[in-house]
């Protein structure tokens, strides 16, 4: 009798579990297995930390190339491969090929997928035809194509299970971001902040691609999915029409706020986190107001999209400081109190630490000492400007006005960091952050909006901070105090996602093409190897047949490839100055390749 009861109880539970769907339980479980790398961000918390520790600070110097794979595509290769069981999934920029490689059989190609896309989408992608990777769940691979189609492929055969148009590329809506799977839904963002797109985050059912919800970054409350009473900003309800009243007329309809960064998810709080990008146009004079909710950290319910809390980092952007960078979720103790934290390194040069349950702002500090557009964020809770950055007149392109060239603003529009994700090690409790170290002159001017055409409205020139020649740093950051622990200079911006490991080693790539390994505690360089092309991909690790591997995509490009290819100039050098700083073209050329490393056999 007891047996029978047990059996019924158990099968009923199993049915219940299957009913509450649970691709993410499966995924969550798989992501705890360090042998695999089942989501683009490594885990839902976005830490890019692996428990693998065969490769250590003591032996990483002996690392060797184990095998390589050419993707057959030039252009910028962002993101990194997935490893699910014995299969590795490698994606490419446009035309967005996907390869399934058999790790158990000489890395042979099991299947290859190449969508047919209208090449007219190429020039609508502002900064190269990048793609940040595919997602896996429920026996499917999800690909967000350049033409803003979301496609589900059978993970065993590569056959299309379903496909859905997320947006219209003829209006400047394109796809570059990696999807994220939460429960029975796949979430995708939109690119197009330089084309006046009203950007959104959208959830589709993983079974059939049916749209479940769409949440815009700006617009009426029912479009942005906020509850005027329940959705909070810095602890207070946002109120009615919180977005539309911060725009002139219906400018929010071409307001940008794009959502092309990485998503994070906290299963216990049941909230997804992501950032929205710059308001369109880059000319601040043309769009008075705070331009909410561009430049905002969003916490949303994954089932219906409703926002729990928001925090706008850069109200009324004047510099193109997109807020899309990744949110890293950690559990740490601040002032003796265990906190569920969210850490975010914004393009605007500030490293933010918030309580991810309610959006309380705990830390906002510069993670590049050269940041000079703000004197800091008002942390006084009773102040009317609580949570707002104090903008310095010297760097205000709004104050300077149209047709005025505001000089010496740090960081440049590239941000102190762009999409390249940081890593967090629970062993050291430090964040490892790939950064840009570039300043700019910025001159806004009036532009007209034409659907599907660039809508920029500013002239920029970029250069390293005065007196310095390094255009990047790789830093270790203490998110609890907002302080840099160590900082390594890099000749070029570090545009590669970092990886932290239990072996006490942190990995990242450089634009020249080096894969580098540094000591997690000290930053000391332990190993470097020059791969075939510059690295803007993210470093990944996995284990196969008892051996730990490190994998990274090379293939220079992206915004870094456009801005730094010819080298930067010194604006103070005067007439006839020639390339004052190193040109990337002297170090590397185009070419997509995966390089996989391991230790030599004992």
């Amino acid at each position: 009798m007891r047996k029978v009861l047990l059996a019924t109880g158990m099968s009923a539970m199993a049915v219940f579990a299957a009913g509450s769907a649970t691709a993410n339980d499966e995924l969550n479980k798989m992501s705890q297995n360090p042998a695999e790398w089942v989501m683009p961000t490594g885990d839902y918390a976005n830490t890019r930390y692996s428990k693998l520790k065969q490769i250590t600070a003591a032996n990483v110097g002996k690392l060797q190339v184990a095998w390589t794979f050419s993707t057959g595509v030039l252009r910028g290769h962002e993101g990194g491969p997935l490893i699910v069981g014995n299969t590795m999934y490698v994606h490419t920029p446009f035309p967005n090929k996907v390869y399934a490689l058999d790790l158990a059989n000489e890395n042979k190609i099991i299947w290859a997928y190449e969508p047919k896309q209208d090449p007219n989408v190429i020039p609508v992608m502002c900064c190269d035809t990048v793609n940040r990777g595919v997602a896996y769940a429920d026996g499917k691979i999800f690909l967000h194509q350049a033409d803003d189609k979301l496609v589900a492929l059978d993970s065993k055969t590569g056959k299309v299970a379903w496909s859905v148009a997320n947006g219209d590329p003829s209006k400047g809506q394109t796809g570059t971001s990696a999807p994220m799977i939460v429960k029975d839904k796949v979430l995708v963002g939109t690119s197009g902040g330089e084309f006046g797109v009203q950007c959104s985050m959208t959830a589709y059912n993983i079974k059939d691609g049916k749209q479940v919800w769409k949440a815009y970054s700006e617009g009426p409350d029912d479009q942005i999915l906020v509850d005027p009473e329940k959705t909070t900003a810095l602890g207070k309800p946002v109120g009615k029409d919180s977005s539309t009243k911060t725009w002139e007329g219906d400018q929010w309809k071409i307001g940008g706020g794009c959502t092309w960064g990485w998503l994070a998810y906290d299963p216990s709080l049941d909230l997804v986190y992501y950032g929205s990008g710059n308001p369109s146009t880059w000319n601040p004079k043309q769009r008075p107001g705070d331009n909410k909710w561009s430049m905002t950290i969003w916490a949303r319910n994954p089932d219906n999209g409703m926002a729990k809390w928001v925090y706008q980092m850069t109200p009324h952007d004047e510099w193109d400081y997109d807020g899309v960078n990744e949110m890293i979720l950690t559990d740490q103790t601040i002032d003796g109190k265990a906190r569920k934290l969210l850490t975010h390194f914004d393009r605007n040069g500030l490293g933010y630490t918030l309580d991810r349950a309610d959006g309380e702002l705990l830390v906002a500090q510069k993670y590049d000492p050269k940041v000079n557009w703000t004197s800091g964020v008002d942390m006084n809770k009773s102040s009317p400007t609580y949570g707002r950055p104090k903008v310095l007149d010297s760097a205000s392109t709004e104050k300077g006005g149209e047709d005025h060239n505001t000089k010496g603003i740090c960081p440049a529009a590239l941000g102190s960091k762009d999409e390249q994700p940081a890593a967090y090690s629970p062993d050291t409790q430090l964040f490892y952050v790939p950064t840009n170290h570039v300043c700019m002159d910025y001159e806004p001017f009036k532009v007209s909006y034409t659907a599907g055409q660039p809508y920029v409205g500013a002239t920029l020139s970029m250069y390293p901070p005065p007196g310095e020649t390094n255009m990047g740093n790789f830093i270790a950051w203490d998110g609890k105090t907002g302080k840099i622990v160590w900082s390594n200079k890099e000749q070029f911006s570090v545009w590669s996602g970092a990886l932290a490991t239990a072996g006490g080693v942190v990995f990242y790539g450089t634009l020249e093409g080096y894969l580098k390994a540094v000591d997690a505690k000290t930053g000391k360089e332990l190993y470097k190897f020059k791969t075939p092309s510059g690295i803007i991909g993210n470093v990944t690790t996995y284990e196969h047949a008892g051996k730990q591997y490190i994998a990274v995509l090379s293939g220079v490009g992206g915004w870094a490839g456009i801005g730094l290819a010819a080298g930067l100039t010194d604006p103070t050098a005067g007439l006839g100055a020639v390339g004052g700083y190193a040109a990337l073209t002297n170090y590397t050329a185009l070419g997509g390749a995966l390089t996989v490393f391991s230790l030599p056999a004992q």
Binding site: D128, G557, G561
Partner: protein, 171 residues
Amino acid sequence: MRIIYLIAAAIMLVAASGIAFADGSGDPTAVKSEDGKYLDKEGNPTYKVQADGTVDWYTYSGYRRYHSECHVCHGPDGMGSSYAPALKDSLKTMSYGDFMGVVASGRKNVTTSQENVMPAFGDNPNVACYMDDLYIYLRARANDAVGRVRPAKHEDKSKAYTDAEKSCMGH
């Protein structure tokens, strides 16, 4: 003997400078100006750089428009990128007419390894209203008449230019 070498070197120098001062539209030397726009002997728009570095309005305006509309693909200062060709070099062989055609209608260069696609800007007033400005700036870059930085001094915007700009941009 030594003198002959020197003369030969001098001839080569002359020849070299001859090459430097010709591009896809011929000799860029300005021979006349109409309301602040300079024209070469063929009647094509061209730049004018004075001894003290002052550039004509179109070159300056072209610098600004290029760094808003074009540099996101073609890189800063017409230097090219990992994504699109260096227009500083393209204009060495491309004529004014071809330049206007490509900017207005776009182009596709599809090879086995690459798909380079430029969109049509004919309907985009931010570009279409400034075609001559862009051409003149890039022509100056192709002939090394202006360097990689923002021109420090420029002639004033003429009234005729201001009126034409307003009517083209519709504001």
